[in-house]
């Protein structure tokens, strides 16, 4: 999942307001949950992937890799769906020889589950891969009225998480060198985690205090108003993107149905 982060470059999608891209996931999620067949969500996934590739300047592999994860997740859902399907047509004769009871309806159900997952992942990928997290939080502050303090806490946390992971590694290593805290089994593991928790907490709190102190020292929150270096606005591009995306969705859903396919 390490690859599922902002792909740093410049493109049409990168220049959009992050909230516009995020907003797209909502109609897609609603749509795919209403549609019960695998092809439409699959088409949505494909279009979103191509859009991220063409308009977001993200290398195709960079998109397919996180989608691979979705596929893995989907695989589980597929089999669950196929084997435990209990809807209409569940009692039809199996379409494969052998002990597995797989009906046409259950196969369709499994495939639908997978393609739904792919559609939602691909749309999220469009957002995540083309959005600088700083811009996202900035947009939340500037357009969605997120309180400034909360927004900057998110920024700080962004820097902080990898540091804490590193500290956890250190604490774990230190305990290991000391011969561990003893024993296998759940109880011993619990005790062990507790042994990590206290030094980790102490270290994290100290680090967090230092960051807060450094922020305060630079006058954070000391003036009633602040100016912004990065400005996120809603531009004509956002409008173009919004209309385009809706048109594409409408086409994917509508065209085959109008043509009676």
């Amino acid at each position: 999942m390490k690859q599922f982060v902002w792909h740093e470059t410049d493109s049409f999608l990168h220049r959009l307001n992050p909230l516009t891209k995020l907003a797209l996931t909502v109609p897609v999620a609603i749509l795919v949950s209403l549609i019960f067949e695998p092809l439409t969500p699959l088409a949505i996934a494909a279009v979103a992937t191509v859009a991220t590739w063409r308009f977001g300047a993200v290398p195709l592999m960079g998109i397919i890799r996180p989608l691979g994860f979705a596929l893995l997740l989907g695989f589980g859902m597929f089999w669950t769906g196929v084997l435990y399907y209990a809807g209409q047509g569940a009692d039809d004769p199996s379409i494969v020889p052998g002990p597995l009871h797989i009906t046409e309806a259950s196969l369709l159900y499994g495939l639908t589950m997978v393609s739904r997952t792919l559609a939602i992942f691909a749309t999220s990928a469009l957002f995540v891969l083309t959005t600088n997290p700083i811009d996202f939080v900035t947009a939340l502050i500037q357009q969605a009225r997120l309180p400034v303090r909360v927004g900057y806490a998110v920024f700080a946390a962004y820097r902080f998480v990898p540091l804490i992971q590193e500290e956890l590694e250190n604490v774990r290593a230190a305990h290991q060198v000391r011969g561990g805290t003893g024993g296998r089994g759940l109880l011993a593991q619990l005790r062990q985690s507790f042994g990590y928790a206290i030094p980790l907490l102490a270290i994290s709190v100290r680090r967090a205090e230092r960051v807060a102190l450094a922020m305060d020292s630079r006058g954070f929150g000391a003036r009633p108003a602040r100016t912004y270096f990065r400005i996120t606005t809603v531009t004509r591009s956002d409008l173009v993107f919004g209309v385009g995306a809706m048109a594409a969705l409408a086409a994917i859903v509508g065209v085959p149905r109008v043509l009676g396919l």
């Binding site: 290991q176 305060d216 630079r218 100016t227």
Partner: protein, 621 residues
């Protein structure tokens, strides 16, 4: 005075929840353009003073503040942090804990946004600030990709963008490698030469910082201002007191004070390497072209096995000036005892999972019992990885590392812990017990000793490290020096034959560092292998018998420190800087700047230990 920019009037401060005052009735005026060094033992309120100057106390940290701090006439209690940020900028010690954004330019912009600087002006200010610290070309970089030195320079740029006239630097180089330290010191030198800023610097790398300051103030352990004046006078007149309090002083000044004690008064009293070169030149002949000059603690016969407890109260031993060269005790014995191979590394190449390139490339070396070895190199050169592989914190590839003849990759970690101890840079990481005694007893208990045995072993260990009276205390409540000693004690309680230490002198004052290193030398003399990963070149020059230099994952050098420091090309390649006294010897043109340990000791003055090992050695020998 008209141009006084900082006025401190009877400042007294107590943190919430502490009984002791941290600052006590401090009165002080600092004029525009002055560069002031703040000295004092650890915990004496140096950082607290720094936080009072920018208003973080009382605005961000509460406590009981009495007296007044005025910055350009503005009372810090009444001014807002934003107004103060435009007058006083502060840089802290931890390069990882002063940023809240991901990108370089965003970080600089953050401070400008806080001050509501118009957006149109930001670009110019960001450019100017990054240009001043030499990071103009990294403007669009992510912060995580900067080195430690660059991060500290960025921290300074962030502050400079807010255009304050006063800069406060709280140990800005404490966590940097030698090259990073040099970067920051150079930058401070430029700022000082620019003449636009007033500097207040808390720093313990005295030799490097001395050329940058024109005034020194000294705090006592209970937060009183005890000395204030030109650095030369302060260091000269209060040298004994400073040494006793464990405060780092310039190495050249320690040397000068030792010589003074022997009747050689240097004039002027040197506080920087170039000054010492000048002052010593007339004496150079007497120093002996074979470089066998002796000083302070030199002829104190080391008695390798002395417990560390009672050494530091002892008076300094004065060496008769006539003794030409001394090769004593510990070194030779240690050499004779050597020969038991504890560690053998063969063709070690290691790549972290998912990393693009190996961190270690074909490293081979072996370490014998009785050796004191330092591993040095720039950050990222692979020295910590090497140490971690040896301790099997990171599992090494099969057949590459043997400890006491056994392949480390095949030994369960609990078992390996009995032969290899690993002391972490931050002692808090490794404390597992709720009390000091518990923490040490953890090892023996896990190793299957009975409760009685475990406690007895631990108590003996604590006694050896002067910590016995702290047995019932919680490890987190100990002082820096005590925590460090505890972390070493608990790694030795199983009789570990090899001890790996990550930056053992980090955050330690001089007295604690000396005490610890003496102890480590004593352990080596007992036949254990001591391996220290360190940026502290002083430690390397004074204590290590051998030094391993890592450059980009390869072992670039394995030999005595003297040969390393004589090899300029290698030093440059490894981004290392020789310690001040070595530099001095070389500039004086002494033919053999460092001979083998033991031949020359320049004692660390009043607090200089007798007993276990050489205090400071290899100066101008």
């Amino acid at each position: 005075m008209a141009d006084t920019v900082i006025e401190i009037e009877r400042l007294t401060f107590k943190y919430v929840g502490r009984r002791q005052l941290t600052l006590r009735e401090v009165s002080l005026n600092i004029r525009a353009g002055e560069s002031v060094l703040v000295l004092g033992p650890s915990g004496c309120g140096k950082s607290t003073l720094a936080l009072c100057l920018n208003g973080a106390i009382p605005h961000a940290i509460s406590g009981d503040l009495r007296g007044a701090v005025r910055i350009g006439g503005l009372d810090t209690r009444r001014a807002s942090m934003a107004d103060l940020a435009q007058r006083v900028g502060i840089v802290f010690q931890d390069p990882e804990a002063q940023f809240c954004m991901l990108g370089v330019e965003d970080e600089v912009a953050f401070g400008l946004e806080n001050l509501a600087v118009p957006r149109a002006e930001m670009d110019r200010r960001i450019d100017a600030a990054l240009g001043m610290v030499g990071l103009g070309h990294r403007r669009h970089e992510r912060i995580e990709r900067l080195s430690g030195g660059q991060k500290q320079r960025l921290a300074l740029a962030c502050v400079l963008a807010q255009e304050p006239k006063i800069l406060v630097l709280d140990e800005p180089t404490a966590q940097l490698d030698p090259a990073g330290t040099a970067e920051v010191m150079d930058l401070l030198g430029q700022l000082r030469a620019g003449g636009e800023h007033t500097l207040v610097i808390v720093e313990h790398r005295l030799d490097e910082v001395m050329p940058l300051v024109d005034r020194a103030i000294v705090f006592s352990a209970d937060g009183e201002l005890v000395a204030d004046g030109p650095p030369r006078e302060v260091i000269r007149e209060h040298g004994d007191w400073l040494a006793e309090a464990g405060v780092w002083t310039p190495q050249v000044s320690e040397l000068a004070r030792d010589l003074e004690r022997e009747g050689i008064a240097l004039d002027p009293f040197p506080i920087t390497v170039p000054e010492a070169v000048e002052a010593l030149r007339p004496h150079a002949r007497m120093l002996g072209s074979d470089g066998t000059r002796v000083g302070g603690a030199m002829n104190c016969a080391p008695t390798g096995s002395d417990p560390v407890g009672a050494q530091f109260i002892a008076p300094p031993c004065v060496a008769p000036a006539s003794i030409p060269s001394v090769h004593i005790g510990a070194t030779t014995t240690r050499r004779e005892r050597a020969g038991v191979p504890i560690l053998r590394v063969r063709g070690l190449t290691y790549q972290y999972p998912r990393a693009a390139a190996p961190v270690l490339c074909d490293v081979s070396c072996s370490i014998d019992g009785g050796e004191f070895v330092a591993i040095v190199g720039a950050n990222g050169a692979g020295k910590s990885t090497l140490a971690r592989l040896i301790a099997s914190i990171v599992r090494p590839p099969r057949g590459t590392i043997e400890v006491a003849g056994r392949d480390v990759s095949q030994v369960p970690s609990a078992e390996l812990a009995r032969s290899v101890g690993y002391v972490f840079q931050y002692p808090e990481h490794q404390f597992v017990g709720r009390t000091v005694l518990d923490d040490v007893a953890h090892g023996p208990r896990r190793a299957g000793n009975s409760e009685g045995e475990a406690v007895a072993l631990s108590e003996a260990m604590l006694d050896d490290f002067g910590l016995l009276r702290l047995g019932p205390a919680h490890p987190f409540t100990l002082s820096h020096g005590e925590q460090r000693r505890l972390s070493v004690a608990s790694m030795l309680v199983l009789g570990q034959q090899m001890l790996l230490l990550d930056e053992p002198t980090f955050g330690q004052d001089q007295r604690n560092a000396t005490m610890l290193l003496d102890k480590l030398e004593a352990l080596a003399a007992e036949g254990r292998a001591i391996v220290a990963v360190s940026h502290d070149m002083r430690l390397v020059a004074e204590r290590a018998q051998r030094v391993l230099v890592m450059v980009d994952g390869t072992l670039a050098f394995d030999g005595p420190p003297a040969r390393l420091f004589a090899d300029r090309a290698l030093l440059r390649r490894a981004r290392l800087v020789p310690p001040p006294l070595w530099d001095l010897g070389q500039r004086l043109g002494l033919s053999r700047p460092i001979v083998q340990p033991g031949s020359v000791r320049v004692g660390s003055g009043g607090a200089g230990p007798i007993g276990v090992g050489p205090a400071v050695q290899g100066a101008i020998s």
